[in-house]
Symmetry: C2
Subunit: 334 residues, 2 copies
C-alpha cells in the first residue's frame, strides 16, 4: 500500500521520526524513569512499541485508556492520572487484569476509590496549574485519610502543565524547580516511593520526579517543536487539494481533523489562511500564490497532537510513499 | 435511564428545544425550501426527524455522510456540497442506492465525477468566502464542460460562509444580497432549477436561493446564539465536577469533547478559565468562587456545534432528568 491508496484526510506518522523520538527518550529516561502518557496517541500499538523499549508503566487520562491497555496486555503498572467519581467505572477499574493506581485529591475521590475496591493511589498535588490536585499542605492529611480507608499510598503526582510549554529554557527550568519544590514538600509528608510529574517540555529538566509522564514526544506537534527539544514532528495529516484559485488553494482537512486550541496547522512552504469544518484554505508564503494544484497531496502539521489524534480512527505508519502499517486509534472516547 | 446513569462527558440534547428548533425552521422553510446540512449533527436519527418534518433532501460534507444517509433510507436527494477527487470513493458514491448530486468547481472535479459514473452535479460558485467554488464568471464554461461530459447540471450552489456569522442583522442582509447577486449571475448562465445556498445565520434573509443548506439550527451553539435567531441552544455536554479548590472547580470535559475554534464553552452562572485535554477549569462570575462541589453534574454549552459533535459517539436525548433515547453519531469520519 502507498500514500496514494489512502483516503484523505489521513493521519500519518513517519516511521523513522517516530522511532527516533522513542529511542531518544528511552536513552534519556530509560525503563521506569518514563511512564509514557497514552493520552497523546491513544493507540495500543504505539504503546506496545514504548513497552518494548523498556517503559512498562503507563499514564492514562481516561478509563477507556486504562481498559484498552489492560486488554492489550500492557497492564503491568497503569496510573490513571485523573480524578474519577463514577462508582460504576471505578468498580470496573478495580476489576481490570492490571495493576491500577488512581490519582486522588479530595476526601470524595478517596472515598469513591476505596468503596470501589481499588487498592493503590497517588496523592495528586497542585503545583501551579489551576486544575486538579490538592493544595500541597493538604497532601499529608489526604494520605492519612487514604491509608485509613485501606488504600496504599504509592506517593505523589503533580503536573507542571503551566511550565511545559514555556519557550525560554532557563525560565522553564526555574519554574519547574519551583513546582517540584511544592511537590517534594508534599511528598515528604505523604511518603511512598513515587514522585510522578513532568511532560515532554520538561523531560530533561525535571530531575526531581522519580518518573516523567511525557506523551507528546512520540508524535510531537508544532507547539512543542518551538521549544527546540530533541524530538521531531513525526505526525501529520495527509490531505488532498480539492480546489484551487489564483491566490489560494483548499485542502480536504479541517476542524474535524485537527485540534485547534493551539492555533492553525502548518503547511510547508505555504501560509495557512484559515480552517473551516472540512477544509483548510492556504496561500503561498508572503502573499505569493500556492505552488500546488487540484489533486495534489499535501501534509498539514498539527499545532496540538492530543485533540488532533482524538478525531481519527487510524494512524498510518509510513516510510516515504510506502504505508507500512495502519494502527487503530483504539483508546478514543472516555 | 436518567442523567445520573450517563458516564461523563456526555453529549446531551434537550428534546423540547430540539423539537422547537426543528418546528420553527420547518415553518419558515417548509419541505424542499430547506436542505438540512447533516455535517452539524452527523446523526441519522436526527436526520430522520428532519425528513419526517418534510425535508427530504439533505446536504452532506463527506462521503461517509452520504453513505450513511443512503443506508438509513434517507437517500431521496443527497447533495455532496464538497469537492471530491478520490476515484474509488466517487465510484462508490455513484453506486449508492440514492439520488446523488455532487458539487464541482473545476475541470478536474468534473472529469472525476464523469469518470466515476456520477450523473448529476451543481456548479459550486465562490460568492465571497475564499474556499471552494469557481469564480462566478467561470460557472457557465464549467456547466458547458459538465454537460459535454454527460453530466446533468441541476444548477448552482454558493455558500456565503463569511456572512452567516455577522452579528449585525442589517449588515448580514446587505452582504447576503451581494453574495447572492454573484450566485444569480452565475445561475443565469448555467441554468438548472436549483440555487442552493445559505446557512443558519441567513436562513430567513437569503430569499434568493431556492433551498437553504442550514444545519446548526437544530442543535445550535453559543456563537450562533449571539445572532438572536429564533433557535435555542439545545446541545450541551454533561460533565462531572471532579476537583474543587477555593477559587476554582474542574469539570471532566476538555479539548477532546469540544470544538475550540470558536473559543471556550459557556457554563451557566460561572466563568470558564481554560480548557485542557480532559478538563475545563472554571470559577464563579466576576472573581467569585464557583457554586458547585465535587461530584456535582454541570452543563457546558459549546461555542461551535460541528467539531464538538464530531468527537462524540452518542447524542442522548433528554427531558429534564430523563434520558429518552440515545442516538449514535453514526456519520463521523470521512
Amino acid at each position: 500500500m502507498t500514500l496514494a491508496d489512502l483516503a484523505t484526510p489521513a493521519l500519518v506518522v513517519e516511521a523513522a521520526a517516530l522511532e527516533s523520538n522513542l529511542a531518544t527518550m528511552a536513552a534519556a529516561l530509560p525503563g521506569p524513569r518514563l511512564r509514557p502518557h497514552v493520552k497523546a496517541h491513544k493507540c495500543t500499538r504505539l504503546a506496545t512499541r514504548q513497552a518494548a523499549l523498556g517503559h512498562r508503566g503507563f499514564t492514562c487520562a481516561t478509563v477507556r485508556e486504562m481498559e484498552g491497555l489492560a486488554r492489550a496486555g500492557l497492564g503491568a503498572d497503569l496510573l490513571l492520572a485523573n480524578e474519577i467519581l463514577d462508582a460504576k467505572r471505578l468498580f470496573g477499574l478495580a476489576r481490570l487484569d492490571a495493576r491500577v493506581t488512581l490519582a486522588v485529591d479530595s476526601s470524595e475521590t478517596i472515598a469513591a476509590a476505596a468503596r470501589a475496591g481499588l487498592r493503590e493511589v497517588l496523592i495528586d498535588v497542585e503545583v501551579g496549574l489551576p486544575r486538579c490536585g490538592c493544595p500541597p499542605d493538604r497532601a499529608g492529611a489526604l494520605a492519612d485519610e487514604a491509608r485509613r480507608s485501606g488504600l496504599v499510598v504509592r506517593g505523589v503526582m503533580g503536573y507542571e502543565g503551566h511550565v511545559v510549554g514555556v519557550e525560554d529554557r532557563d525560565r522553564r527550568a526555574t519554574e519547574t524547580r519551583r513546582s517540584m519544590e511544592l511537590l517534594l514538600a508534599a511528598h515528604a509528608v505523604t511518603g511512598g516511593e513515587i514522585i510522578s510529574a513532568g511532560g515532554t517540555g520538561t523531560f530533561d529538566q525535571n530531575t526531581w520526579a522519580t518518573e516523567i509522564q511525557a506523551g507528546s514526544y512520540a508524535l510531537m506537534d508544532t507547539a512543542y517543536e518551538r521549544l527546540g527539544l530533541p524530538f521531531v514532528c513525526a505526525l501529520s495529516i495527509l490531505a488532498t487539494v480539492v480546489s484551487r484559485r489564483a491566490d489560494w488553494a483548499v485542502a480536504d482537512c479541517g476542524l474535524k481533523a485537527l485540534g485547534m486550541d493551539h492555533g492553525n496547522p502548518r503547511i510547508d512552504d505555504h501560509a495557512v489562511w484559515f480552517c473551516s469544518d472540512e477544509h483548510t484554505t492556504f496561500g503561498g508564503p508572503e502573499g505569493a500564490p500556492p505552488t500546488v494544484g487540484v489533486g495534489d497531496r499535501i501534509r498539514l502539521w498539527p499545532a496540538h497532537v492530543d485533540p488532533t489524534v482524538a478525531y481519527h480512527e487510524e494512524l498510518h505508519v509510513i516510510d516515504g510513499e510506502r504505508v507500512l502499517e495502519s494502527w487503530p486509534i483504539d483508546l478514543r472516547g472516555w
